[in-house]
């Protein structure tokens, strides 16, 4: 046991735990505020939205950023979780009095069913790459919601009416976020995460190194779908009725926007981007009413374009450098802590974990050179 704590301590680096700390502090503060009545309902709703957006963005980042496969069907997995999880919850409410227990059970079941769908969608993912996989997953999302729309048992076009959990749902939702972060960050920062990143970086070499590509691709799809399903159940407990139109491909793309803005392969980035985009969306929806509502998408688009330009324009790089938080941080802390510049002289290689989330550009994901490597579809025997 002592050895265990020693090894935990050895790998400990505050930087790796910053997201847990920030979210926990935030959760405690907001929970106290909500329970003592200092936080209004609308803010609590916003927090719930932010929580399930974070779950969606981080789980999609696992597929897009770490595995390097473009999936546009994330809302489809969420849809499966929302409909089936809430359908179960409606039934469970008649037997179990505790609403928290119902929520937890339905989250697990909804997530598990979504994971099964993730497995099914993961199977073609083994054969398809880049744009082709994007098309398949896009179609999956649309098919799923159309099926639910046409089932009477799920309320048809009117949607599945659910029992609202109450405005303190955000507390549960953020606890789920924390649990998910523990699972996904630990996965990414392990030998399995390394295998997944290796597949992204060079699939051919990964295979030659004996990595079971089939297994890991399926595994990532299943995990990602599981958490998307959980996000769906949370959504179902927040918004009633669960309506098929919410899970359109637009929503899938919105999740992808969160991932791309937060930079692919960066979990902290996904969290920030998810919170930011949900906040902007929420404010635009609530502030702009009546005739102005049409402006929402215009403003939203302008904000997104502005963020992308600020992020990437080379002309702005010096200004960004000047204003960067990291610089400020180093400046303040530099007086107290001597910064180690030489990477080779770092005390231990554990430090190497903060290199794992690397950025890959969208071009690489979509460009032609990701097409199936023709030299690698070798079995031409049938063509004879």
């Amino acid at each position: 046991m002592a050895g265990y704590f020693k090894s935990v301590k050895k790998g400990f680096k505050l930087k790796n735990y910053i997201s847990y700390i920030v979210i926990t502090v935030f959760l405690i503060v907001s929970a106290v505020m909500a329970l003592t009545g200092y936080m209004n309902r609308s803010t609590q709703n916003l927090l719930t939205q932010i929580a399930y957006s974070i779950i969606l963005a981080v789980s999609l980042n696992l597929v897009v950023g770490f595995l390097g496969e473009l999936s546009l069907g994330h809302a489809g997995f969420m849809c499966v979780g929302a409909y089936l999880g809430c359908f179960l919850a409606n039934y469970l409410h008649t037997i179990i009095p505790s609403k928290l227990a119902v929520l937890i059970i339905s989250m697990i079941v909804g997530g598990a069913i979504a994971a099964v769908f993730g497995f099914i969608i993961g199977l073609p993912a083994l054969r398809l790459k880049g744009d082709y996989l994007a098309i398949v997953t896009l179609a999956f999302g649309e098919i799923v919601r159309t099926i639910f729309k046409n089932q009477k048992i799920f309320g048809g076009a009117l949607g599945l009416s659910t029992k609202k959990y109450g405005s303190d749902l955000f507390i549960v939702a953020f606890i789920v976020v924390l649990i998910m972060l523990v699972f996904i960050q630990n996965l990414v920062k392990s030998k399995h995460g390394r295998a997944i990143t290796a597949i992204r970086d060079n699939e051919i070499a990964a295979k030659a190194m004996g990595i079971n590509v089939t297994y890991y691709k399926l595994f990532v799809f299943v995990i990602s779908a599981f958490f998307a399903g959980i996000a769906g159940v949370l959504y179902g407990h927040y918004a009633t009725p669960v309506l098929y139109s919410f899970f359109s491909y637009n929503y899938s793309i919105e999740i992808l926007v969160m991932v791309v803005l937060g930079s692919m392969g960066s979990i902290n980035g996904s969290i920030i981007a998810a919170a930011l985009i949900t906040y902007i969306n929420f404010q635009l929806t609530t502030k702009l009413s009546g005739d102005l509502a049409a402006l929402k998408y215009l403003i939203y688009a302008i904000i997104l374009i502005a963020i992308v330009i600020v992020n990437n324009a080379p002309a702005l790089a010096p200004i960004k450098e000047k204003l960067s938080i990291k610089r400020l941080f180093n400046k303040v802390l530099g007086r107290f802590i001597k910064h180690k510049h030489d990477p080779a002289k770092r005390k231990d290689d554990e430090a190497d974990w903060d290199r794992i989330p690397t950025k890959i550009d969208m071009d690489a994901l979509l460009s032609l050179d990701v097409k199936p490597d023709t030299s690698y579809t070798p079995d031409k025997r049938e063509e004879k």
Partner: protein
Amino acid sequence: MSEKYMLETQDLGISFGGLKAVQGIDLKIRKNQLYGLIGPNGAGKTTIFNLITGVYTPTTGRFFLDGEDLTGKKQEVINHKGIARTFQNIRLFNNMTVVSNVMVGLHNQKEFACSPFASMLRLPVHFESETKMRDRAKELLSIFGLEDERNNLACNLPYGKQRKLEIARALATNPKLLLLDEPAAGMNPNETEELMNTVRFIRDKFDMTILLIEHDLKFVSGLCDEVTVLNFGTSLYHGEVEKALHDPEVVKAYIGK
């Protein structure tokens, strides 16, 4: 098989549609041997590597590693059984650090086994296997003099070191047979000399059997015990290096009449 060979191929061949890329290859490589595969461009050397590592499924013939038939097995299975390779055009995991690259090679070994769920929950077995893998990776890197680079990204290494890292990564999978595809390509004479020493060292230290493709005939003649010369997908000559270089058929294939 009367005698036991580390790698034996019997009438190995592949055709793409009507094109017979490689046919009738009979390699017999003994344990602990340094074997060379040479031939002009397009002779099918890399194709043979791709056949042996399971990238392509052979259309004719079979191949055996240490007496075990591996024909038609998947790439990862063949790797588990003990064939590791490097690539002609370097294929490293560019966005990962040098040490992580080697650790990917260590991924499949039983002593470092740890299920994904154990990693997710950070069970003791996770830390154990991580520490062991890291130590092993450092050990391998130090053989190639790369231990000071271990925290750099693989793509930032100079070319010669990238080649070395690729060999280190292949060795990490604990192979019985190591396939090197043009290891000396793009190296200057000094680096080539150094690489020759490294290859010999690997063979002696790890008791490895090595099959290599190379265009640098000096490199091949200085290193290999035996060669097979390929031309147009068939084996032209097979035997000792010195004799091969003076064989009229081989000379003809290389520089014409």
